[in-house]
Subunit: 432 residues, 2 copies
């Protein structure tokens, strides 16, 4: 059996998981790849940190050049995070004629066109199953298994940290700040969880899915995005009262006027698959015109689930499937007319849940309603409650009828300027 | 762009869906396959039946020979049901050097070894995504996407007819017989639904999954199997009271002593993904040692979802991915030592729900408990209720502690022979 040499760049949590699988599960991986897979180089700047895998002597080094310049290395597994260091490494790997497997969603969401063009120039492939939803095979699912379908919509929980935080708040009534601390202690949240809780991570993943499913090249920064930081336990309970669970949902929906994309806290009707997604799980619901709704759920992060996806990509790449898929999908290409365009985000339709902190005055509700009406937004239901922690303060919860992202954003801005409205409050979309 | 000719054998419901996709979605399919796909022959014995697709003049015929003998036909889509006619057609297609795509689970579950050996001899591939769980990409999911994992267990709802019947009984309190009639009217059940409701269909699919995920070659008839015919609305309500939903579940679980397989009505704890599967949906929960639990849900039958899976296979076959996967998986092969063996079904462990129809006598419960104890089965809970429709009759519901399939089957046989036990009653497994 032929042997293929692989270089692993980035020996952090996921890199360690990938190295462990390659070292311990050789026969299974060789069976899938139909070649023996040799981990020939592990490269990281940090040579001293403790990892939960023991490499053979001499495998780990900080010598990137040696790994990328070895002509026997056919595949580079690129697991450096962020974009600054990762981009030149990935370009160099492709330039050296190596296929690349990566888990880096920020890199693809930001530099997809450049990277994929380079790979095409050099006749190489890029595989990225692990970049979206970790262990869930959603890239293969959409790119290969649903290839007969026109994709109509995607609704996805793509950030396990947010989902963990929201389900903890909902189930145990613990405040946002306290849950974040707990999530950090358990390893479900980074020391700096900003990119998770503000929706950046989910938005970058949605930009990749939009390219894959709809051929839409979107700058992830243009996608309307809200985080979960302003949600309070009360919001989750009010939503439950009304038959919803609040989750951070990334949505892509194809309509006659183009593709609507958005990321934010979303009220999901109880009894639907997405509403049942608990803890650190991710989930994706895809609707195809032939297959109907298909729902995937699994662990979207963590060492082993992500390593499972990386090694599946490595097997696909060595066995030859990745090259076929890469050529067929022609992602981030100027030359493909098949793609749809993202619509002006302001036109994205939706119903909304609003909670406002207000002074306990008579005209509060009618004033808010007036401003919403000025922005073509009708109210479905409204209730006001006393804030037990704030004498003279009250909360106002509004469910709107169908409106647009542009109208509701403008309405909320205007409402916040009303004299009786206090800081705080939140806004969430209503699904379905 | 090169053109590949395809012959479609079997122009029933699914065949019509496949033909429609091939005729209407040519550009999308060509993009995926990287070749133009030409539907060159459609073969069926019945030339007159109305179908919901209009074929170009001259495409439909009953001339199987012409289609299979055309050397330009590279792929045969084999959609004849059952095994008697389908087996020789499939063997002939492979013998003529054609790759095969099929949706026929009975054929693979019964003649897998012979068919796969023939394909290997001739250097051809067999793709069968549509044979299990319709539109859910579970064959690719397990065979390709989870290739880095040792699969630990599969729990699956593989028959949409049964799931529709059980959710209707549960939600609307309608009797089994009445729901079956309704399911037939809506097209969710065949005129003769025996193979669905007695668990045959799900068992054949489980045999295929057992081969794919564990390399276990099992005769599907050896898998312990129970249908849903003996369930009553009361069973679903009792289960709900105790926090469970009853579904027809196919289970494969790998333990140190081999693989346990079984199919039957199963109490699934509320709040788990499988418990939420409604109506005609199918679902599969796979646990891999690296990825953890991955859950898939979608439509398991019907014209378009199944055609979606068939055409995905056709694209994979023409693009070249199927041949790679087929060779790597080496399914139903004597030469592969990687497979595990199915354990003696009698040793399959489980907790059980029993409902017995009994005469209202004092010693009923204690006698049943005595017999269970003789078969090493302890009782977790027990209650007796009056049967309002049967003067002097009562029902006895028992939840056992952990026992085995062999012990519970023998115990139930013995209990049924006790003088106070009347015909009827049911037995179901308890998951988790």
């Amino acid at each position: 059996m032929e042997t293929v040499k692989v270089a692993l760049i980035g020996f952090g949590t996921i890199g360690s998981g990938v190295a462990r699988l390659l070292l311990e599960e050789g026969p299974r991986i060789a069976r899938g790849a139909q070649k023996k897979v040799e981990l020939a180089y592990v490269v990281d700047k940090d040579l001293s940190r403790e990892r939960n895998v023991t490499l053979p002597e001499g495998l780990l080094s900080d010598d990137l050049d040696r790994a990328l310049e070895d002509p026997e290395v056919k595949v580079v597994v690129q697991l450096i995070g962020g974009t600054r260091a990762a981009r030149p490494i990935m370009l160099r790997a492709l330039e050296s004629g190596k296929d690349v497997v990566t888990a880096n969603k920020a890199l693809l969401a930001t530099h997809g066109p450049e990277l994929f063009e380079k790979a095409r120039q050099k006749g190489r492939s890029i595989a990225f199953e692990a970049a979206v939803a970790g262990g869930i095979p959603i890239i293969t699912g959409i790119g290969q298994c649903l290839a007969a379908n026109r994709i109509e919509s995607i609704e996805a929980i793509l950030n396990g940290t947010c989902n963990f935080i929201l389900t903890q708040m909902e189930e145990h009534g613990i405040d946002y700040g306290e849950v974040v601390t707990e999530a950090q202690r358990l390893g479900y949240a980074e020391a700096d969880p900003t990119m998770d809780v503000d929706g950046t991570d989910a938005t970058q993943k949605l930009a990749i899915l939009a390219q894959l499913a709809f051929g839409a090249t979107v700058n992830w920064e243009d996608i309307p995005r809200m985080g979960i930081e302003s949600l309070e336990v009360g919001d989750l309970l009010f939503a439950q009262e009304m038959g919803y669970h609040i989750r951070l949902v990334a949505t892509a929906e194809l309509g006659p006027e183009g593709l609507d994309l958005c990321v934010g806290p979303t009220l999901i009707p109880e009894g639907t698959p997405l509403a049942g997604v608990q803890g650190a799980f991710n989930a994706v619901q895809v609707v195809g015109d032939a297959v109907g709704p298909v729902f995937f759920q699994g662990l979207g992060a963590g060492q082993n689930p992500t390593a499972s996806a990386v090694v599946a990509d490595l097997i696909d790449t060595i066995a030859g499937r990745s090259a076929i898929t890469f050529n067929a999908l022609n992602l981030w290409s100027d030359h493909d007319a098949g793609g749809v365009s993202a619509r002006d985000p302001k036109k994205t339709p939706g119903r909304y849940y609003l909670r406002l902190n207000v002074a306990k005055e008579l005209e509060v509700a009618s004033e808010a309603a007036r401003v919403l009406k000025e922005h073509n937004t009708a109210i479905d239901s409204l209730f006001q409650y006393e804030d037990p922690e704030d004498a003279g303060g009250a909360g106002l919860v509004i469910m709107t009828q169908q409106t647009t992202e542009g109208e509701i954003a403008a309405a909320v801005d205007a409402i916040r300027k009303l004299p009786f409205v206090r800081p705080g409050g939140t806004r969430a979309r209503v699904a379905g």
